[in-house]
Protein backbone atom coordinates (compact mmCIF):
# COMPACT_ATOMS: atom_id res chain seq x y z
CA UNK A 1 0.00 0.00 0.00
CA UNK A 2 1.06 3.55 -0.52
CA UNK A 3 2.06 5.73 2.36
CA UNK A 4 1.74 9.51 2.57
CA UNK A 5 4.68 9.75 4.88
CA UNK A 6 7.86 8.68 3.26
CA UNK A 7 10.02 6.06 4.84
CA UNK A 8 13.59 5.24 3.93
CA UNK A 9 13.30 3.43 0.63
CA UNK A 10 16.60 1.68 0.80
CA UNK A 11 19.56 0.84 2.92
CA UNK A 12 22.20 1.04 0.27
CA UNK A 13 25.79 1.92 -0.37
CA UNK A 14 28.35 1.60 -3.10
CA UNK A 15 31.60 -0.28 -2.59
CA UNK A 16 34.50 0.46 -4.88
CA UNK A 17 37.04 -2.34 -4.78
CA UNK A 18 39.85 -2.11 -7.30
CA UNK A 19 39.21 -3.80 -10.60
CA UNK A 20 41.52 -6.37 -12.04
CA UNK A 21 44.21 -4.94 -14.26
CA UNK A 22 44.40 -6.43 -17.70
CA UNK A 23 47.38 -8.11 -19.18
CA UNK A 24 47.62 -5.20 -21.60
CA UNK A 25 48.11 -2.73 -18.83
CA UNK A 26 44.88 -1.00 -19.73
CA UNK A 27 43.70 1.05 -16.82
CA UNK A 28 40.38 0.11 -15.33
CA UNK A 29 38.37 2.22 -12.97
CA UNK A 30 37.40 0.77 -9.59
CA UNK A 31 34.36 -1.42 -9.71
CA UNK A 32 31.05 0.02 -8.70
CA UNK A 33 29.38 -2.49 -6.41
CA UNK A 34 25.84 -1.51 -5.50
CA UNK A 35 24.82 -3.02 -2.19
CA UNK A 36 21.47 -3.11 -0.42
CA UNK A 37 21.33 -4.52 3.09
CA UNK A 38 18.25 -5.62 5.03
CA UNK A 39 16.63 -2.68 6.77
CA UNK A 40 16.49 -4.73 9.97
CA UNK A 41 20.27 -5.07 9.81
CA UNK A 42 22.87 -7.62 8.79
CA UNK A 43 22.85 -10.61 11.12
CA UNK A 44 24.66 -13.94 11.24
CA UNK A 45 21.83 -15.47 9.24
CA UNK A 46 22.05 -12.86 6.50
CA UNK A 47 23.24 -14.24 3.19
CA UNK A 48 24.21 -12.63 -0.10
CA UNK A 49 22.64 -12.46 -3.52
CA UNK A 50 24.48 -11.22 -6.58
CA UNK A 51 21.99 -9.61 -8.93
CA UNK A 52 23.57 -9.95 -12.35
CA UNK A 53 21.67 -7.86 -14.84
CA UNK A 54 21.14 -8.24 -18.53
CA UNK A 55 22.84 -6.22 -21.21
CA UNK A 56 22.40 -2.46 -20.76
CA UNK A 57 20.30 -2.86 -17.64
CA UNK A 58 21.84 -0.22 -15.36
CA UNK A 59 22.24 -0.96 -11.68
CA UNK A 60 21.35 2.62 -10.81
CA UNK A 61 17.93 2.43 -12.42
CA UNK A 62 15.28 2.90 -9.71
CA UNK A 63 13.80 -0.48 -10.51
CA UNK A 64 17.03 -2.33 -9.80
CA UNK A 65 17.73 -0.22 -6.72
CA UNK A 66 14.32 -1.21 -5.42
CA UNK A 67 14.73 -4.80 -6.54
CA UNK A 68 17.90 -5.20 -4.52
CA UNK A 69 16.23 -3.70 -1.47
CA UNK A 70 13.25 -6.00 -1.87
CA UNK A 71 15.47 -9.06 -2.07
CA UNK A 72 17.46 -7.84 0.92
CA UNK A 73 14.40 -7.33 3.09
CA UNK A 74 12.31 -10.25 1.91
CA UNK A 75 15.01 -12.92 2.04
CA UNK A 76 17.45 -11.52 4.61
CA UNK A 77 20.19 -11.07 2.05
CA UNK A 78 22.83 -8.53 1.18
CA UNK A 79 21.88 -7.78 -2.41
CA UNK A 80 24.74 -6.86 -4.70
CA UNK A 81 24.93 -5.47 -8.22
CA UNK A 82 28.15 -5.02 -10.17
CA UNK A 83 28.55 -2.61 -13.02
CA UNK A 84 30.38 -4.90 -15.34
CA UNK A 85 29.54 -2.65 -18.25
CA UNK A 86 30.88 0.47 -16.64
CA UNK A 87 27.50 2.13 -16.23
CA UNK A 88 27.69 5.26 -14.17
CA UNK A 89 25.17 6.35 -11.61
CA UNK A 90 23.90 9.23 -13.70
CA UNK A 91 23.19 6.84 -16.50
CA UNK A 92 19.88 5.68 -15.27
CA UNK A 93 17.97 4.98 -18.40
CA UNK A 94 17.92 1.97 -20.53
CA UNK A 95 17.15 0.87 -24.02
CA UNK A 96 14.31 2.39 -25.90
CA UNK A 97 12.73 1.22 -29.13
CA UNK A 98 14.83 3.76 -31.01
CA UNK A 99 18.03 2.29 -29.66
CA UNK A 100 16.93 -1.17 -30.56
CA UNK A 101 17.11 -0.15 -34.19
CA UNK A 102 20.66 -1.37 -34.32
CA UNK A 103 21.12 -1.02 -38.02
CA UNK A 104 20.48 2.71 -37.88
CA UNK A 105 22.57 2.99 -34.76
CA UNK A 106 25.52 1.27 -36.29
CA UNK A 107 25.35 3.36 -39.42
CA UNK A 108 25.47 6.48 -37.31
CA UNK A 109 28.37 5.10 -35.32
CA UNK A 110 30.29 4.16 -38.43
CA UNK A 111 29.71 7.62 -39.79
CA UNK A 112 31.62 8.86 -36.80
CA UNK A 113 28.86 10.84 -35.21
CA UNK A 114 30.71 11.96 -32.11
CA UNK A 115 27.82 13.13 -30.01
CA UNK A 116 25.59 10.20 -30.64
CA UNK A 117 25.15 9.36 -26.98
CA UNK A 118 24.59 12.92 -25.89
CA UNK A 119 22.33 13.74 -28.78
CA UNK A 120 20.17 10.78 -28.11
CA UNK A 121 20.07 11.74 -24.47
CA UNK A 122 19.75 8.12 -23.66
CA UNK A 123 22.01 5.96 -21.69
CA UNK A 124 22.91 2.50 -22.62
CA UNK A 125 23.95 3.77 -26.01
CA UNK A 126 27.48 4.43 -24.85
CA UNK A 127 27.71 0.94 -23.57
CA UNK A 128 26.26 -0.48 -26.70
CA UNK A 129 28.71 1.38 -28.85
CA UNK A 130 31.61 0.39 -26.72
CA UNK A 131 30.56 -3.19 -27.12
CA UNK A 132 29.90 -2.84 -30.78
CA UNK A 133 33.30 -1.40 -31.54
CA UNK A 134 35.07 -3.69 -29.15
CA UNK A 135 36.38 -0.86 -27.05
CA UNK A 136 35.27 -2.14 -23.71
CA UNK A 137 34.00 -5.62 -23.14
CA UNK A 138 36.13 -7.29 -25.72
CA UNK A 139 39.15 -5.12 -26.01
CA UNK A 140 41.11 -7.09 -23.49
CA UNK A 141 40.70 -10.16 -25.56
CA UNK A 142 40.50 -8.99 -29.08
CA UNK A 143 43.26 -6.47 -29.47
CA UNK A 144 45.41 -7.41 -32.36
CA UNK A 145 48.62 -7.00 -30.39
CA UNK A 146 47.99 -10.10 -28.37
CA UNK A 147 46.22 -12.19 -30.91
CA UNK A 148 47.29 -11.29 -34.40
CA UNK A 149 45.66 -14.49 -35.57
CA UNK A 150 42.33 -15.06 -33.93
CA UNK A 151 41.40 -18.60 -33.23
CA UNK A 152 37.96 -20.07 -33.51
CA UNK A 153 38.02 -20.32 -29.75
CA UNK A 154 37.76 -16.64 -29.17
CA UNK A 155 34.19 -16.95 -27.99
CA UNK A 156 35.30 -18.71 -24.83
CA UNK A 157 37.39 -15.70 -23.84
CA UNK A 158 34.60 -13.32 -23.15
CA UNK A 159 33.42 -12.79 -19.65
CA UNK A 160 36.44 -13.93 -17.67
CA UNK A 161 37.29 -10.50 -16.35
CA UNK A 162 33.64 -9.71 -15.76
CA UNK A 163 33.20 -12.94 -13.82
CA UNK A 164 36.23 -12.12 -11.71
CA UNK A 165 34.61 -8.74 -11.10
CA UNK A 166 31.61 -10.56 -9.65
CA UNK A 167 33.87 -12.56 -7.35
CA UNK A 168 35.75 -9.41 -6.42
CA UNK A 169 32.46 -7.83 -5.45
CA UNK A 170 31.62 -10.87 -3.36
CA UNK A 171 34.97 -10.63 -1.65
CA UNK A 172 34.41 -6.94 -0.94
CA UNK A 173 31.09 -7.80 0.66
CA UNK A 174 32.78 -10.44 2.80
CA UNK A 175 35.25 -7.88 4.01
CA UNK A 176 32.54 -5.32 4.75
CA UNK A 177 30.21 -7.77 6.55
CA UNK A 178 32.43 -10.63 7.73
CA UNK A 179 29.84 -12.04 10.12
CA UNK A 180 27.18 -12.63 7.51
CA UNK A 181 26.37 -16.17 6.38
CA UNK A 182 28.51 -16.91 3.35
CA UNK A 183 27.00 -20.35 2.95
CA UNK A 184 23.99 -18.50 1.63
CA UNK A 185 25.41 -16.88 -1.47
CA UNK A 186 23.09 -16.85 -4.45
CA UNK A 187 23.01 -15.41 -7.92
CA UNK A 188 19.90 -14.22 -9.67
CA UNK A 189 20.63 -13.27 -13.22
CA UNK A 190 19.12 -12.53 -16.56
CA UNK A 191 20.34 -12.75 -20.10
CA UNK A 192 23.93 -11.50 -20.42
CA UNK A 193 24.09 -11.31 -16.63
CA UNK A 194 23.19 -14.98 -16.49
CA UNK A 195 25.94 -15.78 -18.93
CA UNK A 196 28.32 -14.05 -16.54
CA UNK A 197 26.76 -15.92 -13.62
CA UNK A 198 27.72 -19.19 -15.24
CA UNK A 199 31.19 -17.83 -15.78
CA UNK A 200 31.42 -16.94 -12.11
CA UNK A 201 30.13 -20.38 -11.19
CA UNK A 202 32.80 -21.86 -13.40
CA UNK A 203 35.47 -19.90 -11.54
CA UNK A 204 34.04 -20.60 -8.09
CA UNK A 205 31.86 -23.70 -8.22
CA UNK A 206 31.56 -23.99 -4.45
CA UNK A 207 30.99 -20.38 -3.59
CA UNK A 208 27.30 -20.38 -4.42
CA UNK A 209 24.24 -22.05 -3.00
CA UNK A 210 22.08 -21.38 -6.00
CA UNK A 211 21.94 -19.74 -9.38
CA UNK A 212 18.66 -18.60 -10.87
CA UNK A 213 19.34 -18.10 -14.57
CA UNK A 214 16.54 -16.36 -16.44
CA UNK A 215 16.99 -16.32 -20.19
CA UNK A 216 20.72 -16.76 -19.84
CA UNK A 217 22.93 -17.24 -22.82
CA UNK A 218 24.95 -20.46 -22.80
CA UNK A 219 27.63 -18.72 -24.85
CA UNK A 220 28.02 -15.37 -26.44
CA UNK A 221 28.92 -16.49 -29.89
CA UNK A 222 25.38 -16.88 -31.03
CA UNK A 223 24.42 -13.46 -32.18
CA UNK A 224 23.71 -12.30 -28.68
CA UNK A 225 24.92 -8.76 -28.81
CA UNK A 226 24.31 -8.29 -32.44
CA UNK A 227 23.94 -10.31 -35.53
CA UNK A 228 27.08 -11.57 -37.13
CA UNK A 229 26.94 -9.47 -40.24
CA UNK A 230 26.73 -6.34 -38.14
CA UNK A 231 29.73 -7.24 -36.14
CA UNK A 232 31.66 -8.05 -39.26
CA UNK A 233 30.77 -4.69 -40.65
CA UNK A 234 32.21 -3.03 -37.62
CA UNK A 235 35.28 -5.15 -37.67
CA UNK A 236 35.88 -4.10 -41.23
CA UNK A 237 35.86 -0.48 -40.18
CA UNK A 238 39.39 0.81 -40.47
CA UNK A 239 38.86 2.99 -37.43
CA UNK A 240 38.87 0.00 -35.16
CA UNK A 241 41.90 -2.01 -34.20
CA UNK A 242 39.98 -5.17 -33.71
CA UNK A 243 40.01 -8.15 -35.96
CA UNK A 244 38.21 -11.42 -35.84
CA UNK A 245 38.64 -14.65 -37.61
CA UNK A 246 35.84 -15.30 -40.02
CA UNK A 247 35.46 -18.75 -38.54
CA UNK A 248 34.70 -17.33 -35.15
CA UNK A 249 31.16 -17.83 -33.93
CA UNK A 250 31.16 -14.08 -33.34
CA UNK A 251 30.97 -13.75 -37.05
CA UNK A 252 28.26 -16.29 -37.66
CA UNK A 253 24.87 -15.18 -38.70
CA UNK A 254 21.90 -16.45 -36.83
CA UNK A 255 21.18 -19.19 -36.26
CA UNK A 256 24.58 -20.39 -35.27
CA UNK A 257 25.32 -23.95 -36.09
CA UNK A 258 25.03 -25.97 -32.96
CA UNK A 259 28.10 -27.90 -33.96
CA UNK A 260 30.28 -24.92 -33.16
CA UNK A 261 29.29 -24.87 -29.51
CA UNK A 262 31.65 -26.88 -27.41
CA UNK A 263 30.35 -26.66 -23.90
CA UNK A 264 32.60 -29.43 -22.70
CA UNK A 265 35.52 -27.26 -23.62
CA UNK A 266 33.97 -24.34 -21.81
CA UNK A 267 33.48 -26.38 -18.69
CA UNK A 268 36.82 -28.10 -18.74
CA UNK A 269 38.37 -25.92 -16.01
CA UNK A 270 36.01 -27.30 -13.42
CA UNK A 271 38.22 -29.27 -11.11
CA UNK A 272 35.74 -30.07 -8.40
CA UNK A 273 31.98 -30.49 -8.20
CA UNK A 274 29.65 -27.57 -8.22
CA UNK A 275 27.64 -27.16 -5.05
CA UNK A 276 25.01 -24.81 -6.42
CA UNK A 277 21.53 -25.60 -7.50
CA UNK A 278 21.40 -24.16 -11.01
CA UNK A 279 17.86 -23.38 -12.04
CA UNK A 280 17.57 -22.24 -15.62
CA UNK A 281 14.39 -20.62 -16.85
CA UNK A 282 13.92 -20.11 -20.53
CA UNK A 283 11.10 -19.11 -22.82
CA UNK A 284 9.99 -21.71 -25.31
CA UNK A 285 9.87 -18.97 -27.92
CA UNK A 286 13.03 -17.14 -26.95
CA UNK A 287 14.74 -16.26 -30.22
CA UNK A 288 17.92 -15.11 -28.50
CA UNK A 289 18.35 -18.26 -26.46
CA UNK A 290 17.19 -21.24 -28.48
CA UNK A 291 15.73 -23.92 -26.28
CA UNK A 292 18.00 -26.51 -27.81
CA UNK A 293 21.04 -24.52 -26.68
CA UNK A 294 19.70 -24.38 -23.18
CA UNK A 295 19.10 -28.10 -23.14
CA UNK A 296 22.64 -28.72 -24.28
CA UNK A 297 23.93 -26.40 -21.60
CA UNK A 298 21.99 -28.30 -18.99
CA UNK A 299 23.41 -31.60 -20.20
CA UNK A 300 26.92 -30.20 -20.13
CA UNK A 301 26.45 -28.79 -16.66
CA UNK A 302 25.10 -32.12 -15.44
CA UNK A 303 28.10 -33.89 -16.88
CA UNK A 304 30.27 -31.44 -15.01
CA UNK A 305 28.58 -32.41 -11.76
CA UNK A 306 26.14 -29.57 -11.32
CA UNK A 307 22.65 -29.96 -9.96
CA UNK A 308 20.54 -28.38 -12.66
CA UNK A 309 16.90 -27.74 -13.31
CA UNK A 310 15.51 -26.46 -16.59
CA UNK A 311 12.12 -24.81 -16.61
CA UNK A 312 10.70 -24.04 -19.98
CA UNK A 313 8.06 -21.35 -20.09
CA UNK A 314 5.68 -22.16 -22.90
CA UNK A 315 2.90 -20.11 -24.35
CA UNK A 316 0.42 -21.99 -22.19
CA UNK A 317 2.14 -20.69 -19.06
CA UNK A 318 1.98 -17.06 -20.06
CA UNK A 319 -0.38 -15.42 -17.64
CA UNK A 320 0.16 -11.78 -18.55
CA UNK A 321 1.32 -10.87 -15.06
CA UNK A 322 4.29 -12.81 -13.80
CA UNK A 323 5.07 -14.40 -17.13
CA UNK A 324 4.20 -11.93 -19.84
CA UNK A 325 5.53 -13.84 -22.81
CA UNK A 326 7.42 -16.96 -23.72
CA UNK A 327 10.27 -15.01 -25.29
CA UNK A 328 13.44 -13.49 -23.92
CA UNK A 329 12.70 -12.19 -20.42
CA UNK A 330 14.09 -8.74 -19.76
CA UNK A 331 13.57 -5.58 -17.78
CA UNK A 332 11.27 -5.21 -14.85
CA UNK A 333 9.68 -8.64 -15.24
CA UNK A 334 12.82 -9.83 -13.49
CA UNK A 335 11.34 -9.13 -10.06
CA UNK A 336 8.19 -11.15 -10.55
CA UNK A 337 10.07 -14.01 -12.12
CA UNK A 338 12.48 -14.15 -9.20
CA UNK A 339 9.63 -14.30 -6.74
CA UNK A 340 7.72 -16.87 -8.75
CA UNK A 341 10.63 -19.13 -9.59
CA UNK A 342 13.37 -18.43 -7.10
CA UNK A 343 11.76 -17.92 -3.72
CA UNK A 344 12.56 -21.43 -2.50
CA UNK A 345 16.18 -21.11 -3.59
CA UNK A 346 16.75 -17.75 -1.95
CA UNK A 347 15.01 -18.78 1.26
CA UNK A 348 16.20 -22.32 1.80
CA UNK A 349 19.37 -23.29 0.00
CA UNK A 350 22.86 -23.23 1.44
CA UNK A 351 26.16 -24.40 0.05
CA UNK A 352 27.50 -27.33 2.04
CA UNK A 353 31.21 -26.81 2.16
CA UNK A 354 34.00 -24.31 1.98
CA UNK A 355 34.16 -21.99 -0.95
CA UNK A 356 37.16 -21.07 -2.98
CA UNK A 357 37.87 -18.13 -0.74
CA UNK A 358 38.45 -20.38 2.22
CA UNK A 359 40.54 -22.82 0.27
CA UNK A 360 42.85 -20.23 -1.23
CA UNK A 361 42.81 -22.32 -4.38
CA UNK A 362 43.57 -21.31 -7.91
CA UNK A 363 42.07 -22.20 -11.23
CA UNK A 364 43.57 -22.36 -14.70
CA UNK A 365 41.34 -21.22 -17.52
CA UNK A 366 42.41 -21.71 -21.13
CA UNK A 367 41.54 -18.95 -23.56
CA UNK A 368 42.72 -17.97 -26.98
CA UNK A 369 46.44 -17.44 -27.14
CA UNK A 370 47.11 -18.44 -23.57
CA UNK A 371 45.44 -19.07 -20.28
CA UNK A 372 44.24 -17.23 -17.26
CA UNK A 373 44.96 -18.24 -13.71
CA UNK A 374 42.59 -17.09 -11.03
CA UNK A 375 44.04 -16.95 -7.53
CA UNK A 376 41.84 -16.76 -4.47
CA UNK A 377 44.44 -15.71 -1.94
CA UNK A 378 42.59 -12.63 -0.79
CA UNK A 379 40.62 -10.78 -3.43
CA UNK A 380 40.46 -12.87 -6.59
CA UNK A 381 43.25 -11.99 -8.96
CA UNK A 382 43.61 -12.82 -12.57
CA UNK A 383 46.86 -13.44 -14.37
CA UNK A 384 47.25 -14.08 -18.08
CA UNK A 385 50.00 -16.23 -19.47
CA UNK A 386 50.56 -16.21 -23.18
CA UNK A 387 51.11 -19.47 -24.95
CA UNK A 388 52.04 -17.61 -28.08
CA UNK A 389 55.65 -17.87 -29.25
Amino acid sequence: MSSRRRKPREQSRILRPPAQPTEHGLAREPLQVFVATPRRGVRRSTGVVLVSLGFANPNANPFFVRLRQQLADRFDLIAVGVDYLGTRAKESRTLTPQLLDQDALIQRALAGEPSLGTAAGLVGIGEILRVLVGQDLSREFLLVERMPAQTPKDYIDFGVIQAVDLLTALHAVREAWPKANFRRVHIVASSLGAFLAHQALRLAPRAFASVLDISGKPLLGEGYLLHGHRRKALMDNSNTRVSLDNDSPYCDTLPLSLSSIDLRNQLRPWNHPCSAVVRMVTGAEDDLVPLEHKRRQQAALDRAGAHTELRVVGVAEVDGTVVKHAGHGLGAEFYQLILALGTDLLRDSESPGPGEFEERSSLCLPVSGGHYTVHYDGPPTLAFTSDCP
Binding site: S2, S3, R4, F63, Q336
Partner: protein, 78 residues
Protein backbone atom coordinates in the same frame (compact mmCIF):
# COMPACT_ATOMS: atom_id res chain seq x y z
CA UNK B 1 -5.60 14.21 -13.63
CA UNK B 2 -3.16 15.81 -11.27
CA UNK B 3 -1.17 18.38 -13.28
CA UNK B 4 2.03 17.68 -11.37
CA UNK B 5 1.70 13.99 -12.15
CA UNK B 6 1.25 14.85 -15.80
CA UNK B 7 4.28 17.11 -15.72
CA UNK B 8 6.51 14.51 -14.11
CA UNK B 9 5.50 11.85 -16.59
CA UNK B 10 5.71 14.12 -19.62
CA UNK B 11 9.23 15.15 -18.66
CA UNK B 12 10.44 11.60 -18.26
CA UNK B 13 8.65 10.22 -21.27
CA UNK B 14 9.47 13.26 -23.37
CA UNK B 15 5.97 13.44 -24.80
CA UNK B 16 3.33 16.13 -25.11
CA UNK B 17 1.30 16.29 -21.88
CA UNK B 18 -1.87 16.09 -23.92
CA UNK B 19 -1.07 12.44 -24.59
CA UNK B 20 -1.11 11.59 -20.93
CA UNK B 21 -4.62 10.75 -19.90
CA UNK B 22 -5.77 8.14 -17.40
CA UNK B 23 -5.37 5.38 -19.98
CA UNK B 24 -1.84 6.31 -20.99
CA UNK B 25 0.42 3.29 -20.62
CA UNK B 26 3.26 1.42 -22.20
CA UNK B 27 0.73 0.35 -24.80
CA UNK B 28 0.08 3.92 -25.92
CA UNK B 29 3.45 5.58 -25.22
CA UNK B 30 6.33 3.76 -26.95
CA UNK B 31 9.00 5.24 -24.69
CA UNK B 32 7.27 3.87 -21.61
CA UNK B 33 9.25 0.67 -21.18
CA UNK B 34 9.36 -1.49 -18.13
CA UNK B 35 12.41 0.20 -16.63
CA UNK B 36 11.38 3.75 -17.39
CA UNK B 37 8.20 2.83 -15.57
CA UNK B 38 10.23 2.64 -12.40
CA UNK B 39 11.85 5.96 -13.02
CA UNK B 40 8.36 7.39 -13.22
CA UNK B 41 7.45 5.74 -9.93
CA UNK B 42 10.57 7.13 -8.26
CA UNK B 43 9.94 10.64 -9.59
CA UNK B 44 6.29 10.54 -8.56
CA UNK B 45 7.27 9.43 -5.06
CA UNK B 46 9.72 12.29 -4.85
CA UNK B 47 7.32 14.87 -6.22
CA UNK B 48 4.43 13.92 -3.95
CA UNK B 49 6.38 12.74 -0.91
CA UNK B 50 4.79 9.33 -0.94
CA UNK B 51 6.10 5.79 -1.00
CA UNK B 52 4.66 2.92 -3.00
CA UNK B 53 5.36 -0.66 -2.07
CA UNK B 54 7.07 -2.53 -4.86
CA UNK B 55 4.32 -5.13 -5.09
CA UNK B 56 1.80 -2.33 -5.44
CA UNK B 57 3.78 -0.46 -8.05
CA UNK B 58 4.25 -3.62 -10.10
CA UNK B 59 0.51 -3.55 -10.60
CA UNK B 60 0.36 -0.06 -12.07
CA UNK B 61 -0.71 -0.68 -15.63
CA UNK B 62 -1.62 2.83 -16.69
CA UNK B 63 -1.34 6.41 -15.56
CA UNK B 64 -4.79 6.28 -14.01
CA UNK B 65 -3.56 3.57 -11.65
CA UNK B 66 -0.85 5.87 -10.36
CA UNK B 67 -3.34 8.68 -9.99
CA UNK B 68 -5.64 6.40 -8.00
CA UNK B 69 -2.80 5.34 -5.73
CA UNK B 70 -1.90 8.96 -5.12
CA UNK B 71 -5.48 9.75 -4.23
CA UNK B 72 -5.54 6.78 -1.86
CA UNK B 73 -2.46 8.25 -0.21
CA UNK B 74 -4.24 11.54 0.28
CA UNK B 75 -2.97 13.48 -2.70
CA UNK B 76 -5.61 15.61 -4.31
CA UNK B 77 -6.30 14.94 -7.94
CA UNK B 78 -6.22 18.61 -8.96
Amino acid sequence: MNPELIRVCADLLEVDPSLLGPDASSETIPAWDSLLHWEIIAEVEEAFDVTFDMDQAVGFQKLGDIQAALEAAGVESR
